[in-house]
Subunit: 417 residues, 2 copies
């Protein structure tokens, strides 16, 4: 087989460690120059492939690529853009093939979550359906931790660590203030449908913190919730509430609904924390403070989990190795070997079983009253936040890399998306 | 002079490093056992003195006290409680003297901000006005950085570092998403009247980030603001907005006013970020994300500034040394010796010149358009966020200490505050 180039792109919401996966892909491809030619990155995800806006990663120094390991966000730009089915928009697939042909691309590495796994799966079918030989490998990434088969998703461990650390710190704060001032602290965290991130707030219970969690998996019951908060404050003098942005009433209405939707058609959320805080103030009279972590949580490379960084890199590396072995339509996974000591290895899953499947918190990870996490959940979560992996600093700020992102000269006519 | 015990208390909003000052006070007092007897801490600030709820810090191990240096929040509990004047509430001052007499207290160390400096100043006058010999030393602490005379206030450098790091990280995130999704990220930060914390967001400009800052010192002009944001997005593809909770319209109305007030009578704020974000969406149509950092910022010991930790400790130490030298009604200060290299030493200020004075951002620290920081401001801020001082971790979480907080047996009848 003649040597082919590779296409790599980042998709969906970025994370603290998606660039660590990019680092794994590029460094590993560079070690296999006999098999893989250049790695071209898509400028702004799959859009870069459609518009032929390719970035030549060979123009970046080894040092710059190595720095991706400690740099949050998507170094090549990400996108929220979901390919329709081959039948619904054949034009886009034909364009992809044109671009791939023009730049001799035979490997497609797509780094994203559930929606991106679906896109990657569609690209993997190009070979069979349109006769263009391409191997598509999905590199998992999502702070939501909601991909199936893999034990966890790169990006999640670092958000989980950020939320656990922040909840611990803010809880220490409110405990200090509770005598004459704030008695309840509410922090809103990400997680549209799955409560994995919110669950991480529960890890502070091991440090003696009273915490009430509102999961998207548990229908919101205002009366039960207020009674739980009241009992916590009466017992401990204060409490912290971790509310998932996806927390909703039995009729499906989000506590935080703003009425706007993103490009994938998902409701855009934000603002559950003030809703919950005011609810507590009105019913119980407790003084509150609230925070909405939003992007701060998923971008917080400064407090990334070492486990997470290592896994993000390992899956980028594994994706290239799977490609070299001739695989298509697969996703490398994290397989948990043991909890204590925590051991994991890289496995592989067929994309047909990954695309469009969401993994929610199992019911036995949530306490029977619906407001906390169980020992089983704690055992699952703890290894994922373990270890610190600090970026280098200069003059008080982290030294995050900005790549040159040199464009590959275009060979084709423009294409409108 | 017979050996006297010391009273130490924490007041007002706690910080990531107020316990480092406590550590400085207690460790230094322990080194001068010939001069100072026991250090009694007030449970929940000055309230502990009034209610005779004293904590015996001699019951804590050297290791536990040393751990205060890396533990955020107020280890003994803080309070929002301002003593009235001697004339308005003589009963409270007489009670303080009773408690001090009963426990042989001759030193009063009060660790707080502007309101607390006022309380400390009133206590310092007990000697002259009511004939009880007590030396009152104020240990400065405030994330707002608004105390006069001292070059900076312990607590501020760490919040500034947190805001600078978080703004940098979130800006990298939005830059990745801007092509098809979020174009403006808004983060709300603390600072009721002074824009020091918001200014820290401006430090990311050195990293090429387009950022617009809304200071409390500059009256909000919606038209000018929207036009600035629009220009930034058109030029860079995205921008970040750092809005101070104290940002207000020309008539004094806060963008975020919730209508509630704290125990000091200050309006309780929160929610400027969603107001600003929706304003941008409505006028310019840009997709936004917003965060409210709230307690996360001031409790974030995990990303504390080493300069700040060192200074917090040094001022606790200096307070005890001033007491030993016989001083009363003073506050140790940070005096800047040089900017580059940054050098500082400990000075001293009379409390009469500290109490009830607020230090705002000088106008020449803010750019002429009112939306950014000047080189002069950058030169001031940069050394304050310099250096990392990570806490120890175990199983993924920081090992923050919880003291035993053993009560000193009461000797007096109850007192109602």
């Amino acid at each position: 087989m003649a040597k082919k180039n590779a296409f790599y792109a980042q998709s969906g919401g970025v994370t603290a460690v998606i660039n660590a996966s990019a680092c794994g892909v590029i460094e590993t491809a560079r070690k296999h120059k006999d098999k893989i030619g250049k790695v071209y990155a898509g400028r702004n995800g799959i859009i870069g492939a459609l518009t032929e806006e390719l970035i030549d990663t060979t123009k970046e120094s080894a040092k710059a690529i190595a720095s991706l390991r400690h740099t949050p966000s998507g170094a090549f730009g990400s996108c929220r853009y979901k390919l329709k089915s081959l039948e619904a928009n054949k034009r886009e697939y034909e364009r992809l093939i044109e671009v791939f042909k023009a730049h001799n691309i035979g490997y497609f590495f797509y780094n994203g979550g559930g929606d991106s796994a679906d896109t990657c799966y569609k690209v993997s079918q190009l070979s069979e359906k349109l006769g263009y030989p391409v191997q598509a490998i999905h590199v998992p990434k999502t702070v939501d931790n909601d991909l199936p088969i893999t034990d966890c998703c790169p990006g999640f461990g670092s958000v989980a660590k950020y939320i656990a650390v922040s909840t611990l710190e803010a809880s220490f704060d409110v405990a200090s203030m509770a005598k004459t001032s704030t008695k309840v602290f509410v922090v809103e965290v990400m997680g549209r449908h799955a409560g994995w991130i919110a669950a991480a707030g529960g890890l502070v219970e091991d440090h003696g913190i009273p915490v009430v969690i509102l999961f998207p998996e548990i229908e919101f019951d205002q009366k039960k919730f207020l009674s739980k908060v009241d009992a916590m404050v009466k017992k401990h003098g204060y409490c912290s509430v971790v509310v998932s942005e996806g927390c909703h009433y039995p009729d499906g209405k989000f506590l935080a609904e703003q009425g706007t939707r993103d490009a994938f058609g998902h409701a855009q959320l934000g603002g559950a924390a003030p809703v919950v805080a005011n609810m507590i103030k009105d019913a119980l009279g407790y003084k509150f403070h609230w925070a909405v972590a939003d992007y701060l949580q998923r971008a917080a490379r400064h407090i990334a989990s070492k486990t997470d960084v290592d896994q993000a890199y390992a899956l980028g590396k594994a994706a290239v190795e799977l490609a070299i072995k001739g695989q298509n339509a697969v996703m490398p996974t994290i397989d948990r070997v043991s909890d204590k000591p925590y051991k994991w290895k890289v496995g592989v899953a067929p994309l047909s079983k990954v695309a469009n499947v969401e993994k929610f918190m199992p019911r036995d990870f949530i306490t029977s009253d619906g407001f906390g996490i169980t020992t089983k959940c704690r055992t699952y979560l703890l290894p994922l936040i373990k270890g610190e992996d600090y970026p280098p600093y200069k003059d008080g700020l982290p030294q995050y890399v900005r790549l040159k992102n040199v464009a590959v000269p275009k060979k084709l006519p423009n294409f409108k998306i």
